[in-house]
């Protein structure tokens, strides 16, 4: 790995460790290897959003050309959000692509992702299904996102009604996560979700 990349990550790592955001448990950064090429990030769901109270883990890969090219970041924790793929965790965010600047850091990336959870950009979606729901059925979207946060990110809001629907499909022999995806995709309409799973 290029000298500057490792040097940068070392220093950034130290910076994040002592930052006020870490002190308040808003963000976290862990090294996954000694070469500073792979890291694990963590962000807290921002207040007043369906992600509030959840903890989201991120996979961070540092390219050899860092900081002249952006780090590769994706969500490990499953999340229901228009700009994040509900399947792969891939993120659509300008600063992770062409708007990346060498003077940005992992700290700014984590804070930007937190900002993205507060303010989605449904017109530049990564997940078209989620984006449609976000635009057309805000309340269903919020409920779904809260449910996913509860199930996958240790969130506090149990959506009993939605859970019951997942159980119902499980009772029909469908795998739990698949059932949840189908129901989320079909705005929690059992009939349509079943059709979706069968087709």
């Amino acid at each position: 790995m290029a000298n500057i990349a490792a040097q940068r990550i070392q220093r950034e790592f130290r910076e994040v460790i002592k930052s006020e955001e870490v002190a308040k448990c808003h963000i976290k950064l862990e090294l996954k290897n000694d070469e500073y090429t792979e890291l694990k990030g963590e962000i807290a769901g921002p207040p007043d959003t369906p992600y509030d109270g959840g903890v989201f883990q991120l996979d961070i890969i540092i390219p050899e050309t860092y900081p002249f090219n952006p780090p590769k970041v994706k969500f490990i924790t499953k999340i229901w959000h228009p700009n994040i793929s509900s399947v792969t965790g891939a993120i659509c965010l300008d600063i992770l692509k062409d708007q990346w600047a060498a003077a940005m850091t992992l700290r700014t990336v984590l804070l930007s992702l937190q900002a993205l959870l507060s303010a989605a950009e449904p017109d530049d979606p990564q997940d078209a299904v989620v984006a449609r729901q976000y635009k057309e059925q805000q309340s269903v979207f919020r409920q779904t996102a809260k449910h996913w946060t509860y199930i996958y990110a240790k969130g506090p809001h149990r959506e009993a009604e939605l859970e019951a629907k997942v159980s119902q499909l499980r009772g029909m022999g469908f795998e739990e996560h698949k059932a949840r995806v189908a129901l989320s995709t079909c705005d929690w309409n059992i009939q349509r979700a079943t059709d979706h799973l069968i087709s």
Partner: protein, 495 residues
């Protein structure tokens, strides 16, 4: 030395050699154009060597600078922003909002210059929530570089007019990464977040010391200069590296020093009589259909039913296997049953007809250099038979005409493919057929062995034939051009 001067000086030194180069090149150009085509002269153009391209860029910048009086490197960014349209730049510069113009071109306005630089780094770009806070704020004699995160003496911190400072080493690595790995030259911006101010040539030359990277940068800048400039076009011949300069854009032929003759407007080989638009459509069609045609060519002809090898003995593609016990009805081209071949079959058949002829002339043209070599040998032999050098020149001329005729014929098939039948198209097809026959005869004469007995006889025949071909070619082209002027041509297929 000021680094701005450096970039332009390097090229100016080459100016001396340019002139030499130029002088060597001029006669070459005229010798290649002195053929039977008079059209080249009606479309003035100049061949630029790589050095001349750089010089031309510098001249453009200087021209504008005598009026706008800005640093050369800033003028280059502005010119690039206007696709090297000097008039448009000057018009916008004097008639419009200059501040807006600079902002759109991603440069700091000269009127605001010096305010940001040298002072602190509290430029208002860090106002958005996602941006970094400015860390590089200098504390006494040392400052933090936001790229390498090192605390360094302020003397090694540098930046653009926007005031964002980074250490020289980081700048160098940043620029190298952009130039070498991403191949970017015109659009490298300040590495600060949401800044976008463009890096100028002077900064690149000042901060990048690696000769390889500097050369690549100059190369990228020149390339972008040619590609953006409407009045310039790279010669499409492989490894040529020269560009053609014109005074106005037209779909007319230009001839490069390397000998390649092409259409300035679309960069394809010169394609009279067909228009750029239809040729483009044709090339695309050929690419799309090549799989079909390849399949057809690759398939051996066996009866799809009984596998007896068959020969096609006429124009019709409706085949009936001669094997008495088989007698299968099938299509020659696709080997499928004959039954479903309706109009789509006819369309394919029509396309293949034109495509085969187009390809035939194209293939023959590819052997052009071989023919020239063969003719040269013949000319030498004839000189041994008491003919003077002047007397044998007719052979070279004959090959010139042959090649021109093939080139024209090749594109007449593209023209004809999209042509709707009317009285004029019938005349055109007669002209085409006539020229094609004569051309094939000429080709045959030139292929023939020349013995001393038939020398005089063959000379007369070749001369008569190439003069005829040349005349017929002119007649055909004149007819098509007349048709364009009087709007006699109707097309099939969407425009």
């Amino acid at each position: 030395m000021d680094s701005e001067e450096e970039m332009y000086d390097e090229s100016e030194e080459e100016e001396v050699s340019d002139d030499d180069h130029n002088m060597v090149m001029e006669p070459e150009v005229s010798s290649t154009t002195a053929t039977y085509d008079s059209q080249d002269e009606t479309y003035p153009h100049e061949v630029l060597s790589p050095e001349m391209i750089v010089q031309h860029m510098i001249d453009c910048i200087k021209d504008v600078n005598t009026i706008v009086e800005l640093p050369a490197t800033i003028t280059r960014i502005l010119l690039n922003h206007f696709k090297w349209d000097k008039e448009k730049l000057i018009e916008k510069y004097y008639d419009g909002d200059q501040e807006k113009l600079f902002a759109e071109a991603h440069i700091i306005s000269p009127s605001r210059r010096g305010q940001a630089s040298g002072s602190s780094n509290q430029v208002s770009v860090s106002s958005t929530t996602r941006s970094t806070r400015s860390r590089a704020a200098a504390t006494g004699r040392s400052a933090d570089c936001e790229i390498c995160f090192s605390t360094l003496p302020t003397t090694v911190m540098t930046g653009l007019e926007c005031g964002h400072l980074f250490c020289e080493q980081c700048w160098s690595m940043y620029l190298t990464s952009k130039i070498l790995h991403e191949g970017i030259s015109e659009t490298i911006s300040c590495p600060a977040h949401v800044c976008g101010i463009l890096v100028d040539d002077a900064t690149v030359m000042r901060l990048v010391r690696d000769q390889r990277v500097r050369l690549k940068y100059q190369h990228l800048i020149t390339n972008s200069f040619v590609e953006c400039n409407r009045l310039l076009r790279w010669c499409p011949a492989a490894d040529c590296g020269r560009a053609i300069r014109v005074n106005y854009v037209d779909s007319k032929p230009v001839t490069c020093t390397c000998g390649h003759r092409f259409c300035f407007s679309c960069a394809e080989s010169w394609h009279d009589p067909v228009k750029c638009f239809w040729l483009k459509k044709w090339v695309k069609k050929c690419d799309d259909d090549s799989e079909t045609s390849n399949w057809i060519a690759a398939n051996t002809k066996e009866c799809p039913k009984c596998q007896v090898t068959i020969e096609k003995d006429g124009g019709c593609n409706h085949m009936i296997c001669r094997n008495q016990s088989c007698k299968a009805d099938f299509c020659w081209v696709c080997l499928g049953p004959w039954e479903p071949h309706g109009s789509s079959w006819a369309a394919l058949q029509r396309y293949l007809h034109y495509c085969n002829r187009y390809m035939n002339h194209m293939q023959s043209l590819k052997f052009e250099h071989k023919l020239y070599a063969k003719i040269k040998a013949k000319m030498e032999e004839m000189q041994k038979h008491n003919m003077s050098w002047i007397e044998v020149q007719f052979l070279k001329k004959a090959v010139d005409v042959l090649c021109q005729c093939r080139q024209t014929l090749m594109f007449t098939y593209v023209f004809a493919f999209y042509l709707k039948k009317n009285n004029q198209s019938i005349i055109f097809e007669d002209n085409q057929r006539d020229l094609e026959q004569a051309t094939e005869q000429l080709s045959e004469y030139l292929e023939r062995d020349i013995t001393s007995d038939i020398l005089i006889d063959i000379k007369q025949k070749v001369q008569d034939k190439f003069r005829y071909c040349d005349t017929r070619r002119s007649v055909l082209l004149a007819h098509v051009h007349e048709g364009y002027e009087k709007e006699l041509w109707e097309y099939q297929g969407s425009l």
